[in-house]
């Protein structure tokens, strides 16, 4: 029972670390694949553009879209607006006709394309999370929308509304946030990028490969130190749990330790037994923590599938194992050494 409780407690920080890293990687991978799903080759953002799409601001005059469209090798240029809804979820203003042209159109689970100015398309995950059906009203960013369709996720937008409405709401008439550019031949991507850079000084112009490369942990401020802090808390919890657990073991088994000493067990032998037991607790805690991380993923998918995506981060399993085992061994050292130093006569007399 004591061992099971220890394993459970050790598993908690393991799950925390795996969930945190899994959420970071899962949400980045999701955003990455939705950007690729747009079918654009180049993305133009305003001069204040930060690393990720969602912080761009609406600063590009809509006339620039036509200018880009007229450039050689440009097959299609589409202006969009991305407003932040949650930490990493966006409300995307689109021109339905151009969007269909560029992406091949959404796949509709229910309903159909945007028609009225207050129509919204929500993807299946968002609809599940908010229990939405076609025809229902939904308030997003303080505006009441009518759900026109439920779409399959994966094509740029999780929430899509008419761009003109969003321009009005954002007091950004005649402006767009980003221009998505499709070129006529993938071989021309870099050529077009160079042309556009020459044409549009002051704008941030990236190929889709460059944009998706930005979706990594290094681009999100504080996520690395935060992970380190969680790992450090994991070590502290692990050390404390194992220390208490092994201290209890040494107390409970004082007499048995005395018996082993009477049989000639050396100090390293006794210490070894305690360390082996602590290592087993660490291994058990790691395995249980990994199992729990699948549980966390299931819960996130069941409860907040649109807001959060959690990946199972296999490459972090050995890292958490090292963290946990280090904590277990550190935690077992003091109880182990005190067990090894016990006086056999006193230990044998222990009731």
């Amino acid at each position: 029972m004591r061992s099971l409780l220890s394993i459970l407690l050790i598993a908690v920080p393991v799950t925390l670390i795996l969930t945190l890293v899994g959420l970071t990687q899962g949400m980045l991978a999701d955003a990455q694949s939705r950007q690729r799903g747009a079918g654009a080759d180049i993305i133009i953002r305003g001069s204040q553009a930060k690393a990720l799409i969602n912080a761009s601001g609406i600063t590009i005059p809509a006339g620039m879209v036509d200018l880009v469209q007229r450039q050689p090798h440009v097959k299609l240029a589409m202006g969009v607006i991305n407003d932040r809804v949650e930490v990493i979820m966006l409300l995307t203003g689109i021109d339905m006709a151009k969007f269909n042209q560029m992406t091949g159109g959404f796949t509709y689970d229910q309903g159909g394309p945007l028609q009225g100015p207050d129509d919204i398309l929500v993807d299946r995950l968002y609809a599940d999370e908010h229990h939405l059906q076609v025809g229902q009203k939904v308030s997003v960013n303080s505006h009441e929308w009518r759900v026109a369709g439920v779409i399959e996720p994966g094509k740029m937008a999780r929430l899509a509304v008419p761009m003109a409405t969003l321009q009005d709401l954002d007091a950004a008439s005649g402006k767009v946030g980003q221009i998505y550019v499709q070129v006529d031949d993938p071989a021309d991507i870099n050529l077009v990028k160079t042309q556009l850079s020459a044409l549009m000084g002051g704008y941030t112009i990236n190929t889709i490969d460059e944009i998706t490369a930005m979706y990594n942990v290094d681009q999100i401020p504080a996520i690395k130190p935060f992970t380190v802090v969680v790992a450090a808390i994991g070590v502290v919890i692990g050390v404390t749990v194992v220390w208490l657990s092994m201290y209890m073991v040494v107390l409970q088994r004082t007499r048995e330790i005395g018996i082993l000493k009477a049989l000639g067990a050396s100090k390293p032998f006794i210490l070894g037994i305690i360390l082996i037991e602590a290592t087993l607790l660490g291994v058990g805690g790691t395995i249980l923590g990994i199992v729990f991380s699948y549980g966390a993923q299931w819960l996130i998918r069941a409860l907040v599938p649109a807001s959060f995506q959690m990946a199972i981060v296999y490459d972090w399993w050995p890292r958490v194992a090292v963290v946990t085992l280090t904590a277990a061994i550190l935690g077992a050292l003091y109880p182990g050494l005190s067990a090894a130093r016990q006086d056999p006569i006193e230990a044998l007399a222990y009731e």
Partner: protein, 231 residues
């Protein structure tokens, strides 16, 4: 100090410090035990029997005096040296059996082999010892499934599995009824007679003491008398 004895003590003294008070547990003990001897040690509580037992068994160092066990001067041994002595030279049998509760009888015996670095499997002759002890059919059981007498016989098997020069038994019948006490004492006598096992046995019970060849009487940390059993 070389008379062929397997245990020799000269002016052996032990002082324990309990709080601010020094307690003289042994006040100069001279004792010779010959190989193959079965010696009983009797005396009231606090007479120093257990302390003598602990020093000879290498569980604690003496404060002063000389003590040799199997030719080794225990006063000169470090803690690691005494640990080694406990592995191969002495075997303990305790009043409370002191078996490891989570292990089977067999594993309790095997663990002593393992600690001594002899592997887990007892040697072939050990089957004879197990038959002698009458526990050959009970080895798969854990201590809580064994009677007190059986547990003590398993403890005896564990104590002698590494062929120690000396078997130290501290009140081996103290927790047993008279029938089991008799069985255990006869086992000890058999081991002594058939295998030539040297045995030192502490007891309060004069009937138990009579199983030994000789009996040493202790009082106030000294040996006050030594008697031989009637032939």
């Amino acid at each position: 100090m070389n008379n062929g004895a397997i245990i020799e003590t000269r002016d052996l003294r032990k002082v324990y410090r309990i709080g601010q008070v020094d307690v003289q547990a042994l006040r100069g003990v001279d004792l010779d035990v010959q190989p193959g001897e079965f010696l009983s040690i009797v005396g009231p509580s606090g007479s120093g029997k257990s302390t003598l037992f602990h020093i000879i068994g290498g569980l604690t160092p003496p404060t002063a005096g000389e003590v040799k066990v199997g030719g080794q001067n225990l006063a000169a041994l470090t803690d690691a040296g005494r640990t080694k002595l406990r592995r191969r030279t002495v075997g303990f049998v305790f009043q409370k059996f002191n078996l490891l509760p989570n292990l089977t009888a067999y594993d309790n015996i095997a663990v002593a082999r393992h600690i001594a670095g002899l592997g887990r499997q007892p040697d072939a002759q050990f089957d004879e010892v197990l038959r002698l002890l009458g526990i050959a059919g009970r080895l798969d059981h854990k201590p809580n499934a064994l009677s007190g007498g059986e547990q003590q016989r398993v403890a005896i098997a564990r104590a002698i599995v590494n062929h120690p020069a000396i078997l130290l038994a501290d009140e081996p019948t103290g927790n047993l009824d008279s029938e089991n006490s008799k069985a255990v004492l006869e086992v000890l006598r058999d081991l002594n007679q058939r295998l030539g096992q040297t045995i030192l046995m502490i007891t309060h019970n004069p009937e138990a003491a009579a199983y030994g060849h000789n009996t040493v009487h202790m009082r106030d940390g000294r040996i006050v008398d030594r008697t031989s059993a009637a032939p």
